[in-house]
Amino acid sequence: MPVSTKTAMGTLVTIEVVGSGEGADELGAAMDCAFGWFHEIEERCTRFNPRSELMQVCSCSGVPVPVSTILYEAVRFALMLAEESGGAFDLTVGHRMEKRGFNREHRTGDIVLSPITPDDDVSFRDIALNPDRKTITLRRPLTLDLGAVAKGLAIDLAARELAPFQNFAIDAGGDLYLGGSNAHGTPWHVGIRHPRSDGQTIASLRVSNQAVCTSGDYERRSPDGQHHILDPRTGENPDDIASVTVIASGAMLADGLATAVFVLGPVHGIQLLSRLAVEGLIVTSDLRRYVTQGLQQVA
């Protein structure tokens, strides 16, 4: 069964395709394309490279900047998610993340700071899109952060490349897309990590043709011990939730929603997921579980 692992977007990306290895040439080409999307999207959407398309846009506030389809669609979806979540998800938290010490390029370890000092009250409402001309305008100086969206987008595109092979798994640092079924011909088993106990799972799901993304307060801590999710409305770390797992049709949706739900807290988070007919599991800091309708058995 072909498995391939590469480094991209600051994490390990593993693609596994179920099968005997027939059509190895086509599979090899599809895997190359799948990994290619990760690199392409990282190049355009990272805020850790001052020459990335994203950072070019950030350095040109006040004017409409024509951008690539990748960047335009990523920003457009992020804005919709920001709107839908009432600002709990906000792609303009970039500078606050920098201030918290989330400022290192993952390959070189270099500190990357954007050359702008935005006002503290910038929000997604300071971004305007022109759908006809595919331009992005930042009405005020600000730093975009597409972390939660870009990786999911790459996973979804990789899944499209692998669609002809039907049964496959993509794992990008714990964000998963599971196509078809596993080697036993049954839906994939996905364990959800226990947020307070390494190596243990707190729930187990069976998933087919869906993405599973988990945001936890245990991943990516800044030098002073803060985790990587900020409440854009307060600038603080939300402290109710230990981890959020979202199961959705795509990884961009699941990853973005996991971030938004983390900020919203368990009650409003479950409300948002239910409104969107997306399944999710929330584990609070005191290890209580909140689940959506479809996951009642897990609770």
Partner: protein, 247 residues
């Protein structure tokens, strides 16, 4: 531990705006990327098929092969089926990188002399996944016996084509980018071939063993390279393109 089945899409409500938007965004980006690369992909696929179809029908002969040679010919298939990949648990299984395997090689008779005479068999086109840099092996062929299987083999190109002296450039394409080859013809023969420009996504160092093969073989017919089949094909077509101009 309880298990939940989240695969119950049929009971779900109609997809709402955000869910639909995420699907649309992925499709838009994918389509944009597809349009950008589609013509190159189509061209690549047509070329690859052409290359794998080998020489025209008129240049094919039928030869008899003995047991060992048959075994060698089936080697890639055996290798594929005997590979042991981690069973099913992507999270815990050891990670392995699987190079793209080249297509089953063709058996090429270098010297199609009488069936009873020993002749050389060029196995250079066999995939050498574990050691891509190794030189092509030339094995002596034991006398063939009529009872054994028959495979189609490809005759060598006839006498050296008549190329005009000079230095010629040609381009070859693949879905990972293009390669320009520079071929020097002296006294009607290929004196040298080099990679003049490497515009592929990956470094051309993976196929650096190929350019010398062009002069050695007096032919663009270089080895396949496991894990770099597309770069190898691009180089092949670049040489073919350059040699076209030398005619």
């Amino acid at each position: 531990m309880p298990e939940g089945d989240s695969n119950n899409g049929s009971t779900k409500k109609v997809a709402n705006g955000l869910v639909a938007a995420s699907c649309a965004a992925v499709l838009t980006v994918y389509t944009a990327g597809y349009i950008r690369t589609k013509s190159a992909v189509d061209r690549f696929e047509a070329q690859a098929a052409e290359r794998r179809a080998a020489l025209p029908e008129s240049k094919r002969i039928v030869g008899r092969v003995d047991g060992p040679r048959s075994a060698m010919r089936t080697e890639p298939a055996t290798e594929r089926s005997s590979r042991h990949f981690p069973a099913h648990d992507a999270a815990r299984a050891p990670k392995r990188i699987t190079p793209a395997l080249p297509p089953p090689p063709e058996v090429k008779l270098l010297d199609p002399s009488d069936a009873g005479e020993p002749i050389a068999l060029d196995v250079s086109r066999l995939p050498l996944a574990s050691d891509p840099g190794s030189q092509a092996a030339v094995l002596p062929q034991p006398p063939a016996s009529p009872a054994e299987s028959t495979v189609e083999a490809v005759a060598p190109a006839p006498s050296a084509p008549k190329w005009k002296d000079g230095t010629y450039l040609g381009w070859g394409t693949s879905r990972h980018g293009n390669i320009q080859a520079e071929v020097v013809i002296e006294q009607g023969r290929i004196a040298s071939a080099i990679i003049a420009q490497c515009r592929t996504r990956y470094s051309c160092s993976v196929i650096e063993q190929l350019p010398p093969q062009v002069a050695q073989r007096q032919s663009p017919d270089v080895d396949y390279v496991s894990g770099a089949t597309q770069s190898a094909d691009a180089f092949y077509f670049a040489v073919v393109d350059a040699l076209e101009k030398a005619k």
